[in-house]
Subunit: 430 residues, 4 copies
């Protein structure tokens, strides 16, 4: 069987292909030469499976979609508070290239140009590299291939960068920029000229969807708190000024670029990227917006469509051994707050006796910090109740694991071996 | 074992008990008499398990926390578009009791007083009941018990309702209200005087967390799209004016009331309510805010903390029968877009032959529309490949289920019976 | 000869009669019944000469043109500072019936409804009269006849006074109004229903043009500082929101009313009133605005058209008596700063000797305080120089006049008698 | 006698000398080195008499006080409409160096930096001179001496002109500036570095006070309409953001500069300049503001203090000749609308007969266009009544004068000659 998803995506872009409205970005001469008929769509699942259709190998400049990634990089390097000192997180109610600072002189958020230029200025020096090159390397790591600059677009933008220079000088005046604004603005424009395909974008986005871990490599590229911050800002400030409307009707944190790209990321679920160069009056890709609205509506891809996933933590529970004295819990999935609550609620049913409880974590894919803490608290209570607790955790997810009462836990590699041993021991006892 | 959650909640309110700042609501004389030391916290899981600590049986007036529920009621009755004609969804950047309309004369959102008064005016007449009584009945249904009005608070507020009358007359001037504003404002104030405990609030909130279905009764009280709308508006407009800050640091759709209550709802996960009468300068409970921040931070309860739940859809897969000719998939959990994608990806591994595939949906708790459509598309493709498809769906989740190609599906009640039959048949064939 | 002014005014309204655009005020039912073709124009010189043409005997309701007069009354009764505590003086950039307060909760100025309602609330109680009746009496004094209320318009407005009630309740909320807003709003609406003709209006305006003195009676009705305040506020806040445009293109402090009246006052020069019921989108009389623009342009009636009047203070200077020992100055006109400066400059030419100087103030029409002070200082210096100073001041304008050095001045009734006496004395001396 | 005015001015600066608050401009390094104790005050009457006290020979940079003069120059060269296309006339409600454009992208007014930079950009090329040099020459003409640039201040400002560059680039983006903003900004900064004394300023201001004519030379340097526009904009936009407060409490069109200068101009009366380098939070000289407030209050120098000058137009009227058949009117002062109205009203008293009327215009200082037109209309009517009209107008003020009915007027050089002739003729007739 072929999964129908590519067909579905193809169907979506066909439906959107009809809308021929909008215009090419005209303020950057080089962008005005783009082929207006290009159309591409890609989607990555949170575990890194990528589907794509249309002109999915065509490169275009990333433009403003670079903003969340540079923001992520700088948050990761400097910490959230240091960045908040320079750039706020509130919607600006302004067009993407407006000039306005908050009362505290900070740019209102990192998704408008003033905030993005400031964010670029915060990139820490590294190995004498230019700031835009540092960004390019970081984005290449996210994309899983070497991205490159579009020198023609860069040259074209630099020549008429009046608005960004205006912003840069204003930021210099109020002390938000601390060095020559011309260099910083040029660096920012260079960052915007990085070439990507929709497949690159969804791969980059999948790291955000997956809480900062590259699903292809398993490597953590960004802290969980950084990802939360980036997605929050994309949600409240990413798409023009009608933040409330975007949240209620689409409900996907997103960012678009004037070359016609748009990237949406639904945490824990998918990243989506579309590309079509014709823009609406807000500077967003007409078809790109259409595609995101359609996917949200048709696929139930909306931040407020919560999945009641709690019921799934206990894969199976059975009693075995002599007199069913052995209570075995096989867990599965992700151990976050809601799942931990569910697990503990189930464990409440264990009678207060001296029986042995085995908990198998082998199939747990992710353990959040709070999940671990709640789990360990439960373990303590079971031991206090008189139980013997045995854990199967071959990947040592609870490596430093001592319980709250500082008990060292007995951890085993394999559930079947363990049960065999236990039964064996029982038999011997008898 | 006792689950440690109540202890954790008790620990949270103890920690917050220290902060004695803030002041009682002074603009409503009756509220100024509240006991400032009251402190309560409750939490409901998405499946309706309620934990609570502190003064959890103390009733207080719901005040502005009534806004999302009346909004939900009106959305459910009139549809989203009809309500959007009268009230917007954009953050207002204003205090809870400011007077300001959007350019189109609509109140900016239903969480500020102008929007809430307008929402109240939209309640359709029913059985000659007063509008506030209709709201009371609806909220009682959500809370699972008969709620009642606090007549003293109502009388006290009506006497000095200058600001709400000012708002009401302004709305009448621009034609947003179509009848006498005094009656509507009084109705709205009455709605605000409904008495609740934190346990009531989280039960009411659990319906929102659970996508509109009361987890205690399994009855659908609100459409999924209504819930999405309500939670979106709570997220972008619910907590004072710093919408971006609330989203990034707390990330829980929420609404507070000047009697000291605050209610947060994390879709698919939990609802949380706190009660402590002392307010900050925004009119929010000082300790209530503190509690929500703490729970978000400590429990990872944040909208952007996506759960990568996709891996959990296939509970088990095994081959059985003669020559392992029978491929059995036992599914589990929720079948939404992400899970459907995962399932279809797994099914791709089925070789193109004429074997029989059994899919057991018994343990699927919820099937979203999009999940159903994708699933049926996959079925079609497997049949096209030559497979025989047999479904176990005792609850008839796919009741009307014909596939996209209009094939009638073979649906069975019990997986074990089915497999036994199949094996039996095989044996006979041989 | 007949003065051509009435013909000129008739010509102006004929020229404006062509413009038939605009619409009748629709928000007050009674006003919608007005005859849209009415057209009247009146002008009063600063000395009270009134010219008028068109429907100059037709009464219409004064509406917002009552605002500057009630403001004047309250300023006169309470003093400027007390009124500034409640109402500001800054342009609001808003339509005449917007709802908005400054940061300090004060209405931005007394020409918008919030400020005018507040101003009305400040009218001090007098003889158990209603506040609107007090205003009516004051305006009647200015108009020189008993004005009356239009009860039908009043009744009509009160019925649908939603916006003013909205404003009233908001002002009550913030404590700017201190009693029941319904009574105050009704009083304000009653004030607006006073009936006037364009001739009444220019007579009322002539008191403002003339610095607070009724030119017909010579009685001071308003302090000079009150008039300055009222005219300043009319200039910066009187005509819709484009204060800078009105000042530069028309340059006449003005106020209009929704019944179609408009009143302009150019201090020291003229007051002008027009009446034509059709309104533009700002609520100003279309033809009324046209007329004021035309008069400003054609007649040079503009605040920035300063008259260099200084040269005119010394009507004549001659020497007489034996050896021309008597130096006689006949003054004329107004003695303000600029004229006093000019006079003193001329007096500098007097040689330092012991000759006698006669100054005739008979034809001085007005002596400002600063003019008096500078004049007396000059007298002192002339006396110090050795001169004998003799003043002719039959009206005792310098009644309390002692110089700065506390010299008592010799004041005479008639210049010719005086000179005759002096010559006589000289002859005797010889 | 010495006129007491210098003593009065000395008294004013002594009184203001006490206030030592404020701080030197710090954003331009060179200005921070100024002597903070400098204090000077000058005043020019409308006829060009200059009084000054304190450090009245100390030069300082004109800074923002250059704005009204460059505005005047550009208005004079291009006409008001052409300039209005690029720069508005509305108060901005912003600090002097804010960045903000109106909805139509135009700077809100020429007194804020964006408007002043735009104004500078409009200076037409002349003889290959730099734009700042053209301004310098124009200002030198107004000041009556060669002004020069302060090269050190210029160099200092150019180095840190971040805010002005920000503004320049923004104006370039929206197309208000049409060439390289760096050149224009540098030209503007150079314009601001012109050195003046308070005596220069009041002489420059006296041209504005005198309606565009240099009172020292009698040459018209600016059109009357240009002056009206410049003063209107100084009134509504010149002094920080509280335009209404400045108008009501001071009532003098004014502009200040960050070097500590402030210039006020009261049309038809005086120009005033003060200099004291310490600035308040708005960037205005602390003592300068104090001085203007004091002069307004003490001297009655306020735009709304209208002078009722109408009574002064007829210097004398007498009948002479046989049977008093000759009616002689000697006029004096300025012939504007109000004076013409008064004159015509007096002429109405002439009986309808065939007597001869002589009108002597010798002492009329200024004849406004409207005054001339009304006067000629009156003449026509008198001739229609049967009178013979004879005018004495040695300066040919009514040079092209034909009446409205196209009658050629009889104009004479000298009143005494004329009357002698007339009497002579009468005698001969007899």
């Amino acid at each position: 069987m072929q999964t129908p998803l590519p067909d579905y995506l193809a169907h979506v872009i066909e439906a959107c292909d009809i809308d021929n409205s909008g215009h090419l970005a005209d303020y950057i001469p080089e962008l005005a030469n783009a082929n207006p008929n290009r159309l591409a769509l890609a989607m990555s699942t949170v575990d890194g499976e990528i589907y794509s259709v249309g002109d999915d190998d065509i490169e275009f400049t990333i433009q403003s979609m670079s903003k969340p990634f540079t923001y992520a990089y700088v948050l990761q390097q400097l910490g959230i508070d240091a960045v908040l000192d320079k750039v706020g997180v509130e919607p600006s109610g302004e067009a993407f290239n407006e000039i306005s600072l908050g009362k505290d002189r900070r740019p209102k958020n990192p998704m408008i140009n003033s905030g993005a230029i400031t964010t670029h200025s915060l990139i820490p020096m590294k190995d004498d590299l230019e700031s835009a090159e540092i960004v390019r390397q970081f984005m290449s790591a996210l994309a899983g291939r070497e991205l490159r600059f579009d020198e023609a677009v860069y040259a074209s933008e630099v020549k008429t960068a009046y608005r960004n220079l205006s912003i840069g000088y204003m930021l210099r005046t109020v002390g938000i920029l601390e060095t020559d604004p011309v260099d910083i603005v040029n660096g920012y424009i260079r960052q915007c000229s990085i070439l990507v395909t929709v497949k690159d974008l969804v791969r980059m986005g999948s790291v955000l969807a997956n809480g900062g871990v590259d699903p292809k490599t398993g490597k953590r590229l960004l802290n969980r708190s950084v990802v939360r911050q980036v997605l929050s800002v994309m949600m409240s400030c990413g798409m023009y000024d009608a933040a409330g409307d975007w949240l209620s009707t689409v409900g996907i944190p997103a960012k678009s670029g004037v070359a016609g790209g748009i990237l949406g990321v639904l945490p824990g679920q998918v990243s989506i990227a579309a590309f079509s160069p014709k823009l609406d009056e807000h500077g967003n890709s007409v078809r790109g917006i259409d595609i995101l609205e359609r996917l949200s509506r048709d696929m139930g891809l909306h931040l407020m469509e919560g999945t009641p996933s709690a019921q799934t933590i206990v894969q199976s529970h059975y009693r075995t051994g002599k007199d069913a004295s052995l209570s075995v819990y096989v867990l599965r999935g992700v151990l976050k707050f809601t799942e931990a609550e569910m697990l503990l609620r189930i464990l409440q049913a264990e009678p207060m006796d001296q029986s042995t409880i085995v908990i198998d974590l082998t199939q747990i894919s992710i353990i959040h910090d709070v999940g671990k803490r709640m789990f360990l608290e439960g373990i303590d209570r079971l031991i206090d109740d008189g139980h013997t607790l045995l854990l199967v955790d071959p990947e040592q997810r609870l490596d430093h694991a001592r319980t709250h009462k500082d008990r060292t836990l007995h951890v085993y590699q394999d559930i079947e071996d363990l049960i065999a041993q236990l039964k064996d021991a029982e038999n011997k006892k008898v």
